[in-house]
């Protein structure tokens, strides 16, 4: 029940295309869904996050779509650029719960073709 399932494992997209990464969770108590971006040799960095009270959040070229009833959320990268090539992790947690932890998906390795 603590798992966060992420797909696909790897993704190749042409420059200018839309990259879509999907995640599903089981624990309905989760109320915070961040996406992290990780470049080789670096730690993960928060990219964008959403709470379940909204169905979509957009920041620049990055959009999270959230489907509470299906317990799924996805990251869309519009006009994908070679600099977006990285590993992306979805995650879930319960904000404000002192004993809770962030559960990460296994990651999607994204490669944008120039």
């Amino acid at each position: 029940q603590q798992q966060v399932k992420q797909s696909p494992q790897s993704l190749i997209v042409q420059k200018g295309g839309i990259s879509i990464i999907n995640c599903a969770y089981e624990n309905t108590a989760f109320d915070y869904f961040p996406w992290y971006q990780q470049f080789p040799g670096k730690g993960p960095a928060l990219l964008i996050a959403i709470r379940p009270d909204v169905s979509e959040k957009k920041e620049g070229r990055f959009t999270i779509s959230f489907n509470k009833s299906a317990k799924q959320f996805s990251l869309h990268i519009m006009d994908s650029q070679p600099g977006d090539s990285a590993t992306y992790f979805c995650a879930a947690s319960r904000l404000g719960d002192r004993d809770d932890k962030i559960i990460f998906g296994k990651g999607t390795r994204l490669h944008i073709l120039p």
Binding site: P34, G41, A49, R98, I102, G105, K106
Partner: protein, 112 residues
């Protein structure tokens, strides 16, 4: 604002040897986390500190792993003795009162 600092960045040791990793969190961040990241996997929490108190160490293999955060600032993670399966990246992160976590660059450990 300086980020999370970790050292060393890379460490190669032989099995059964001890190894230690150091982390300096962002100034003012009271919560510190140690994560394990295996190749092709997401980070997995090993231990979380609130100031100097370890509030979640349920995933820390206590037979060989230990951690400390004296004075509630810097932290050290130790493995003794190291095993081949410990080869991974060890990430440190910090946050202010459980909000957004900021990760360090990690220490890549190779056990031969």
């Amino acid at each position: 604002e300086a980020g999370v600092v970790q050292s060393p960045r890379y460490k190669i040791i032989e099995k059964k040897q001890p190894v230690a990793f150091w982390c300096n969190p962002i100034s003012g961040h009271n919560t510190l986390y140690w994560y394990l990241q295996n190749l092709g996997q997401g980070p997995e929490l090993l231990i979380r500190y609130e100031n100097e108190e370890a509030v979640d160490d349920s995933q820390l293999p206590k037979d060989r792993f230990s951690a400390e955060r004296l004075k509630g600032v810097d932290s050290t993670l130790k493995i003794q003795p190291a095993e081949l399966g410990d080869s991974a990246v060890y990430l440190c992160a910090s946050s202010r009162q459980g909000n957004e976590q900021f990760f360090g660059p990690g220490t890549r450990l190779t056990v031969l």
